[in-house]
Symmetry: C2
């Protein structure tokens, strides 16, 4: 992270932290490790962000479009100039769960050898951090300002509101929810909702509720 100029490390529910071995390996980048924010949940880590990219090595059922790291990085950088963004990595052994991916608005994957596609976590972080730095250098200042995306909390409140309405209307059976909310999250994640759009959607839900 530090070699590529990244500073804000968030650790979700780490097994051990602080950890002697991690500190020893951090070498000249101990400042980044020591300034890490420890969270209990991914939702907590994503508070305040407007765009979160889930890093995944595999295609997922019902997932939004998967971008390559090279495609994703400039988009992340573009928003990072205005709002908080996050790149979300899973555990070394099993990556991100579908529920975790569902919290993110974008999926990105490192193009790799199909016979052996799994980079280890440190390698994947290095590659994405490198692409983000390249993305900053390459960033073409566009005439049109970046859209102001809705914040994570606003979008999550919208999903909760939506789910309540769906249950109230009988469309969603809470005993047998199937994958309905997952599909809806996917749909909205793809659009990357703007602040104003969330207001409109919430307004619609409120109207339906009345």
């Amino acid at each position: 992270m530090k070699t590529m100029g990244l500073k804000a490390l968030y650790l979700v529910n780490p097994k051990r932290f602080p950890d002697e071995q991690a500190s020893a390996r951090a070498s000249g980048a101990l400042d980044v490790l020591e300034a890490a924010t420890v969270c209990q949940t991914l939702d907590e880590a994503l508070q305040g962000t407007a765009l979160a990219v889930a890093m995944t090595a595999r295609r997922r059922d019902l997932s939004p479009e998967i971008l390559t790291t090279r495609e994703a990085a400039p988009r992340v950088v573009e928003h990072a100039f205005k709002q908080q963004v996050a790149v979300v990595f899973g555990t070394e052994m099993s990556g991100l769960t579908n529920a975790e991916v569902g919290r993110c608005q974008m999926l990105a994957s490192i193009p790799a050898n199909p016979q052996y596609p799994s980079l280890n976590l440190a390698a994947a972080v290095q590659v994405m951090a490198y692409e983000l730095r390249q993305g900053c250098a390459d960033f073409a200042w566009s005439e049109a300002p970046a859209r102001e995306l809705a914040g994570f909390e606003d979008v999550e409140r919208f999903y909760q509101h939506l789910e309540r309405i769906l249950i109230e209307t009988g469309f969603l059976d809470p005993e047998h929810p199937k994958r309905l909310m997952h599909r809806l999250r996917r749909l909205f994640a793809r659009t990357r909702l703007e602040k104003e759009e969330v207001n409109i959607l919430r307004g619609i839900l409120t109207a339906v509720q009345k």
Copy 2:
């Protein structure tokens, strides 16, 4: 290497090989490690190559132009379709020596945080391997065929021939060679000599000798 589809690993004068710890860490890529070629010198490793890229984190005195990894990768890939190429990494602690860099025709560097620019070796290999894979994907088949570069041995024989002539002519004092050969290597490395050009230069040297 394997995640990015690279297979040919050359180890120059390794402290230990094979090594239990390395094998354990290779995980599903043990085939690459076991097929590694062990060489005593860098020259031995570069036999048969036509283009070698030295990876460096720092600007060097009298070095040829340093390309970014993103600039270098497509050029390496272009030649790799026709001739053997190599990417040369130094040791974890001290990188490549100037003499080693002098064996290469191109220098490349990973753009990094100037306050903390040193990636560790594994991270640097991952980034360059990633760029090489991207370079393959992005490679635009040009109408003009890639130039046929001279092989490493031919170019080295030319340098030896040149040095002999310079000594014979009294231009180079073997007791006080200064950095003359280094400068000349730099000059020719920048041009990336073609096979036919080396023949011509050798012809000139032979003519001078007579």
